[in-house]
Symmetry: C2
Subunit: 324 residues, 2 copies
Amino acid sequence: MDELGLIDDFLGPFGLRRNARSRAAGVLAGPGDDCAVVRASPRRKLVLKVDELVEGVHFDWRWFTPEDVGHKALAAALSDLAAACAVPRWFLCALGVHPGADASGIARGIARGMAALARRHRCVLVGGNVTRAAAWSISVSALGEAEHPRGRGGARPGDAIVVTGVLGRAALGLRLLRGHAAAPASRAVAAAIRAQRRPEPLLAAGLAAGTLATAAVDVSDGFLRDLGHICAASQCGAEVDVRTLPVDGAVRAATLELALSGGEDYALVFAVRRRNVARLLSRLRQSGARAAEVGRFVRGRGIRLSEHGRPRALPRRLGWDHLA
Amino acid sequence: MDELGLIDDFLGPFGLRRNARSRAAGVLAGPGDDCAVVRASPRRKLVLKVDELVEGVHFDWRWFTPEDVGHKALAAALSDLAAACAVPRWFLCALGVHPGADASGIARGIARGMAALARRHRCVLVGGNVTRAAAWSISVSALGEAEHPRGRGGARPGDAIVVTGVLGRAALGLRLLRGHAAAPASRAVAAAIRAQRRPEPLLAAGLAAGTLATAAVDVSDGFLRDLGHICAASQCGAEVDVRTLPVDGAVRAATLELALSGGEDYALVFAVRRRNVARLLSRLRQSGARAAEVGRFVRGRGIRLSEHGRPRALPRRLGWDHLA
């Protein structure tokens, strides 16, 4: 296996070749040059996000195809752009390759999964890096553009908490893949496993929310942990009614902790002024996503849960710590 | 060790905190938000580069301090911006953390080395990612801006080849660190080891060359391999007189292969029209870098070496293959 051969294999599914100019709009130099060169839109802000998946930490080849891994690595970064209300434009990919007989085939599979998702969202691969490594890793740096980028810091006490997407499905999928969970009815199994392997970044919903949502975060590390990031940045607390969370029956039947702290949902959590809740919910649903009001931001600190009007204890673990 | 604590340790040397706004010019949201948001300059093109260093592949803790590694990871990406004639602006850093008692200390050291170099070149950390990994890895995505970005494809037969910087020193440094090379006089040892551990990206030289140089590449994988990239992209060959290469006596005394194919020099190789050679050399030297004319681009393919007017065989290995 040599580096340039593997790069050629990786570029194939993107319709790219080394030493051949990319024909995508706004791309002046792409893979094969030392640097990528792109033309940003005037009057828009650049929105940047780097995310990384590591073999043995974020995925296991027993349960993931290379296509799944490529899809998921890009999806994770695009989901953050969705939260920020950014339109995806370009991305860089740094690949850590575990040498072996089929390294080129794996790289090509990763590229296939990534390229299909990139094409759907018109996000163009413009550069990358390849290195040998003890385990496979895929780091994606995504660039998007936004007129009014949304951050975590815009929530105010009294704002409603709106979730778009579904919570807990991906964590249930992981349990099922690992064989830890009794299998629920087969459609639910398929949905859970698909959510784990091929999460869909909610870009249309993120854009549809526009300036109606004043803060947002994507749920990658667990709903409570990510909601906590909005609270910390906005200096407020939150109250959540767990009965209102957008959760499948299969997840509720297993344990609600999957939805509260399971992670990898790539749902979006929004803060929205009370008077705008109905309009936001309607816009999100029109974009094709599920949407629910699940609670409100309050003065003070911390998150409180309730169920049928009664307090419910927080789970011991609020979400995923990437080093724990 | 927890993730947020390690992130705080990492951000410290940059003068940054989670949930605190960066005060750097053009940065609207930085580390601590989901995405970074920056304002690009109108009328300039964006120049993007991702590079990655991996423990056990690119560095060994026996010979590198965390500060060395942080410096070098950023230097490698900035060197590509230098070749492209871009002014560094922002960067993202994805850190793969090998858990252990001193992981936070190592992360902080990496950040210290990176922050010192970033400050000198006014390149601002705007975002990152942290994950557990089997070995330490540092992937840097650097963004620069250029009015006239330089690529690899602008060389024409008849153009001169100009090198700025020094070749072979970093490869000699690695040999010395590994104990493979008899130690030359101590100043040369120090220079070689410093070139391996703390390479200086030649940003001033890259900018000084401006539009006088019509193509460029930085020497990361070995002079012949990287020169070959210009040849391939420009569809021409090259002739190099090895006596003219900018090489230390210590490298020539060890073996010239270190300069031809050793790699990690972070020198810059330029193509320049004959009538502009003297002006380019003078500008490069004014920028503080060494500069030498080392040959010319020719019709055809491949690279030919000469020495004292006689042909010299190419080394067996032209440079570094990141998967070999």
